[in-house]
């Protein structure tokens, strides 16, 4: 059941990415999809044990440390992607004065003619 919940979160991110016209909302939707992927890996790793992957504190089988290390990387890269995307959105806003992707497209095509 949790797998389908994670899939629903990812689907919400994909839907926001392609259906919402506001650029800031697109960036947030991208971050939501990224969070769904992180949840997927962490949940997958947590199935293999029952304690945190820290040795020396006694009983229990530790969970798989590899997905957690990979998702550490993915979180930092996700922050970088969001920062760069917000920088690009800021440049578009200062140039075209709107955050609506349809208006920006219209202004770009009009300027080319």
């Amino acid at each position: 059941m949790a797998w389908y919940l994670i899939g629903a979160i990812f689907l919400a991110g994909v839907w926001g990415l392609i259906a919402l016209p506001n650029l800031i909302k697109k960036v947030v939707a991208l971050n939501i999809a990224n969070s769904a992927i992180i949840l997927f890996f962490i949940y997958f790793g947590s199935l293999s044990g029952d304690t945190a992957p820290i040795m020396g504190d006694g009983a229990g089988t530790p969970v798989d440390p590899l997905p957690q290390a990979l998702m550490l990387t993915a979180i930092v890269v996700g922050v970088c992607v969001v920062a760069l995307a917000l920088g690009l959105v800021y440049r578009l806003y200062t140039r075209y004065g709107t955050l609506d992707i349809r208006e920006i497209e219209r202004k770009v095509w009009k300027r080319d003619e």
């Binding site: 899939g7 689907l11 199935l47 440390p65 957690q68 990387t73 760069l84 920088g87």
Partner: protein
């Protein structure tokens, strides 16, 4: 009207893929996990196995990640502080 149909079709395709992909079997035991849990602490000296993975076995990964962060900061400075 056509664009809306394309959007709905794309979301439906992703939904069908997710239902098919997430509904199957999910193996939990991997050889890498067994190796790291057994040898991780004695080979790298870090009790935290996540640290022993990202600074011991996968230090190159961490180096590349810091490069990504450096480039992201450079890109933000370029985009935001640019004056026409």
């Amino acid at each position: 009207m056509g664009a809306r149909a394309v959007e709905i079709a794309a979301v439906l395709a992703v939904a069908i893929f997710l239902v098919l992909a997430l509904g199957g079997e999910h193996p939990t035991e991997t050889p890498v996990r067994a190796y790291v849990v057994e040898h991780g602490e004695e080979q790298t000296g870090a009790a935290n196995l996540v640290t022993s993975v990202y600074l011991g076995y996968r230090a190159f990964d961490t180096l590349g990640e810091t490069i990504v962060l450096l480039l992201a900061v450079s890109g933000v400075v370029l985009f935001v502080e640019h004056r026409q």
